[in-house]
C-alpha cells in the first residue's frame, strides 16, 4: 500500500519535499497546494506532472477522501488554524512548521514513537540537525544537565516564515533538546549569515558533561549518531572531530568540569535550492522518513 499524500505550501520547503517524494515508492504524491497561482513551486509541480492547486489548505479539505497524509510546509500560524480541520477530515498531518501542535518527532531518535498520532510535528531544521546529537550525548552519560545548539544558515535559505517567527524557532528547538534530546536545561540560537557565495548550513551542539563522564563513550556515541542521521540526510557530517573542552562552566544546569563541542555541517542534496541550503534538506528528508514510516506502520511492517 502506498500513502496518498498532499503537500501544502509551495515555497522552498514544499517544493523540495515534492521532488524528494516523487522518488519514494511508499508515498504517492497527489498534489502540491499553494496560494499563489504564479508561484515557482506550483509551476515546477505542473512541469513534473503533479497536480497543482493555488486554493490553499481548503482545497485539501474539499478533497479529503483522496488523501491519507498532508505535509504542511506553510507557516506556524497557518498550521495553527488548520490542524484541527485536518484531524476532523481524517487526514494525518505531518507538520513542517514550528507550530508544535502534535508530538515532536526527530527522525533519528523517536521515529516510531508517534506513528498513530493524527498530527506529528517535525520541530525545526535546526532541531532535526542537533537533537540527535543531544540524544547521542545523553545516552552515553548519566545526566545531561544542559545542552545548547547554535544554528547558522545562509540568509538566502531563510524564507519569510523563518524570519517572522524567529522566537518560535528557538523555543521549539530548545524544547526538543530537552523533551527528545534528554537535556535537563537547554538553549537554542539561530544566526543568519549573508555571505556570498552562501555558506552551507552549520550547527554546533554544546553538551555539559558532569564529573565522572566517560569521554570516550560520548565521542563514540556522537560518531554513531553521525552515521545514523547521514543514512537519510547524506550531506550530514561532523565538520571537525568532536572535542571535549575543560572548564569549569557555570551552566544553567549547574557547574560542570567539561563540555563536548560537536561541529556539524549539513550540505543539501540540491534537489530544489542549491546545496548550501542543508536546512531545507534536513527538514524535508526527515519528513519524508516519517511519511515512509507511517506507510510501513499502516501496512504492519516495522519502520
Amino acid at each position: 500500500m502506498t500513502l496518498r499524500c498532499a503537500i501544502v505550501g509551495s515555497g522552498n520547503i514544499g517544493t523540495d519535499l515534492m521532488i524528494k517524494m516523487l522518488r519514494s515508492d511508499k508515498l504517492e504524491l497527489g498534489a502540491l497546494v499553494g496560494i499563489d497561482p504564479d508561484s515557482e513551486g506550483l509551476a515546477r509541480a505542473r512541469t513534473l506532472g503533479v497536480e497543482a492547486s493555488h486554493e490553499g489548505p481548503d482545497w485539501v479539505l474539499s478533497h479529503a477522501d483522496d488523501f491519507d497524509v498532508v505535509f504542511d510546509a506553510t507557516s506556524a500560524y497557518v498550521h495553527v488554524r488548520y490542524h484541527k480541520k485536518y484531524a476532523e477530515a481524517g487526514i494525518t498531518a505531518v507538520d513542517l512548521t514550528p507550530a508544535a501542535r502534535g508530538p515532536k518527532v526527530i527522525a533519528a531518535v523517536n521515529l516510531t514513537e508517534h506513528l498513530d498520532a493524527a498530527n506529528i510535528n517535525m520541530v525545526t531544521c535546526g532541531g532535526q540537525a542537533t537533537t540527535p546529537m543531544a540524544y547521542a550525548v545523553r545516552r552515553a552519560v548519566d545526566r545531561l544537565p544542559y545542552c545548547e545548539m547554535v544554528s547558522t544558515v545562509s540568509s538566502k535559505s531563510a524564507g519569510p516564515g523563518t524570519r517572522q517567527n524567529i522566537d518560535e524557532f528557538t523555543k521549539t528547538t530548545s524544547t526538543a533538546l530537552r523533551e527528545i534530546g534528554g537535556a535537563e536545561q537547554s538553549k537554542a540560537i539561530i544566526i543568519l549569515n549573508p555571505a556570498e557565495p552562501p555558506i552551507i548550513m552549520r550547527n554546533t551542539v554544546f553538551g555539559a558533561l558532569p564529573e565522572g563522564t566517560d569521554h570516550d563513550a560520548v565521542l563514540e556515541s556522537v560518531y554513531d549518531m553521525e552515521k545514523a542521521v547521514a543514512s537519510y540526510v547524506p550531506g550530514y557530517r561532523l565538520k571537525n572531530q568532536p572535542v571535549i573542552e575543560e572548564g569549569p562552566y557555570n551552566t544553567p544546569g549547574g557547574v560542570v568540569p567539561h563540555r563536548v563541542v560537536i561541529l556539524l555541517e549539513v550540505e543539501g542534496a540540491g534537489d530544489y535550492l542549491p546545496t548550501y541550503a542543508g536546512n531545507l534538506d534536513i527538514m524535508t528528508a526527515a519528513a519524508l522518513r516519517v511519511g515512509e514510516a507511517i506507510a510501513d506502520h499502516r501496512e504492519g511492517l516495522p519502520a
Binding site: 545548547e148 547554535v150 547558522t152 540568509s155 519569510p160 524570519r163 517572522q164 517567527n165 524567529i166 522566537d167 524557532f169 528557538t170 523555543k171 538553549k187 540560537i189 539561530i190 544566526i191 543568519l192 549569515n193 549573508p194 555571505a195 555558506i199 552549520r202 554546533t204 554544546f206 555539559a208 565538520k239 571537525n240 572531530q241 572535542v243 573542552e245 562552566y249 557555570n250 551552566t251 544553567p252 563540555r259 563541542v261 561541529l263
Partner: protein, 342 residues
C-alpha cells in the same frame, strides 16, 4: 534637562561585559550606574554582552543572572533611562516583557546589517510595551550606504523610534562613517545613532564625524571597556565634544572619575590596541570574538592572529562564536599536516 546636541548612551554594562567575560556583580552595577547617572548620562545600557539571553556556552555564562543586575540598575538610576539590547535569534520577546517589568524603558533590537526583517516582531513588542525601540544595525562596515538605507527604512517601518549603525568590528574610517551617516540622515524620518569601536583608533573621531553629519545619538563605554580593542570611551567623547563646543549635558570631569575610580580597577587589562585588536579592525571581524579567539588559540596551539584572519575570510557575522573553535581545529590540523610533510 537642558537641550543637548546629541544623546549619549553608555554601554559599559552591556558592551563592556565582553571585556570582563560577563563577570559583573551587583556592586559593580550600583557603582557604575550611580556614577554615570550623577554625571548626567541620559541612557545607560545593561545586559549580557550579546544581549538579553546571551548567557551561554557560545558567548560565555554570566556570573550573575542578568535580570538581577538589570533590576539593580533600574533601582539605582535617579535620572537616567535604563536600556537593554537584544538580538532576535539569541534573546526572546519574552525577555523584553520581563525587563519592562523591572523598569527598562529603552529596547535596542540588534541585528546584522543586512537582516533587518527579523526584527519586526521584537520592535513591535517593545512598542506595545510602551518602550522606546531602537533598531540597531551591527557590522555596518559590511553594507553600503544604500544598503544600510534600505535596511534602516525597514526598521523605521516596523516602528523604530531611532535607528543605529554599529561599527562592531571597529573597521570604519572617518570617510566610511560620513558617507553612511549622511545617506541615512537624508533618508530617515527618525533620528540616527552611531556606535563606534576603537580597533583602528578611530572611535572618537568617527563619533564626532557622525555628529557633524547629523547623528543625534552616540554610544560610549567608560574607559572604553568593551569588545575588541574597546569602544568609544565615554569620558573622552564628552571631553572632546566640549572642546568642539558641542553640548552634551554630561560632566566630562565626573565621567573621568567614573572611568578612573570605578571602571579601571575592575578591568582585567587596560583597553589597548594590540596586534589582535588592530587585526579585528583591519580584517573587519566582530570585536567580541577577541577573548574567545585567544582562549581557542591557547587551547589548540594556533596563533590568535591566524584565527581572526580566517574568520574574516569566512565573512562570519556577530553571534558565530562557535566558528572560532571550528577555525582553531582546522588550523591545528593544517599545522600538523605541514609538520608531517616538511
Amino acid at each position: 534637562m537642558t537641550a543637548t546636541d546629541y544623546r549619549l548612551i553608555d554601554s559599559t554594562l552591556r558592551d563592556g561585559s565582553h571585556a570582563i567575560s560577563h563577570q559583573y556583580y551587583a556592586d559593580d552595577v550600583i557603582r557604575i550606574v550611580a556614577g554615570l547617572d550623577a554625571a548626567g548620562v541620559q541612557v545607560i545600557e545593561i545586559a549580557h554582552g550579546d544581549g538579553l539571553g546571551g548567557s551561554s556556552f557560545n558567548y560565555g555564562f554570566s556570573a550573575v543572572p542578568e535580570k538581577e543586575l538589570i533590576a539593580q540598575a533600574c533601582q539605582t538610576a535617579q535620572r537616567a533611562q535604563i536600556a537593554c539590547l537584544m538580538l532576535p535569534g539569541i534573546g526572546l520577546a519574552d525577555d523584553l516583557r520581563e525587563v519592562r517589568e523591572l523598569g527598562v524603558s529603552v529596547a535596542r533590537i540588534a541585528v546584522h546589517c543586512t537582516e533587518a526583517d527579523i526584527t519586526e516582531q521584537h520592535i513591535k513588542v517593545a512598542k506595545d510595551l510602551g518602550m522606546e525601540a531602537i533598531g540597531f544595525l551591527m557590522m555596518a562596515h559590511m553594507n553600503s550606504p544604500e544598503g544600510l538605507v534600505e535596511q534602516a527604512l525597514l526598521l523605521q517601518s516596523y516602528g523604530a523610534d531611532t535607528v543605529y549603525i554599529a561599527d562592531s568590528a571597529g573597521a570604519m574610517t572617518v570617510e566610511d562613517v560620513r558617507r553612511r551617516v549622511n545617506a541615512l540622515v537624508n533618508a530617515l524620518d527618525v533620528p540616527l545613532g552611531v556606535h563606534a569601536h576603537n580597533n583602528l583608533s578611530m572611535a572618537v573621531a568617527n563619533s564626532i564625524a557622525a555628529y557633524e553629519e547629523g547623528a543625534k545619538n552616540l554610544d560610549g563605554t567608560s574607559a572604553g571597556l568593551g569588545a575588541g580593542a574597546g569602544n568609544c570611551p565615554t569620558e573622552i567623547l564628552a571631553a572632546v565634544s566640549t572642546k568642539y563646543g558641542i553640548e552634551t549635558g554630561v560632566d566630562p570631569l565626573a565621567l573621568m572619575d567614573v572611568a578612573e575610580d570605578v571602571v579601571r580597577p575592575i578591568m582585567p587589562r587596560q583597553q589597548v590596541i594590540d596586534r589582535a585588536g588592530l587585526l579585528l579592525g583591519y580584517a573587519g571581524v566582530y570585536g567580541s570574538f577577541l577573548l574567545h579567539a585567544e582562549r581557542a588559540a591557547e587551547r589548540y596551539g594556533v596563533p590568535t592572529s591566524e584565527i581572526l584572519l580566517e574568520l574574516g575570510r569566512r565573512q562570519v557575522v556577530g553571534g558565530q562564536e562557535d566558528m572560532i573553535i571550528d577555525v582553531a581545529l582546522e588550523l591545528a590540523r593544517q599545522h600538523a599536516e605541514q609538520e608531517v610533510t616538511s
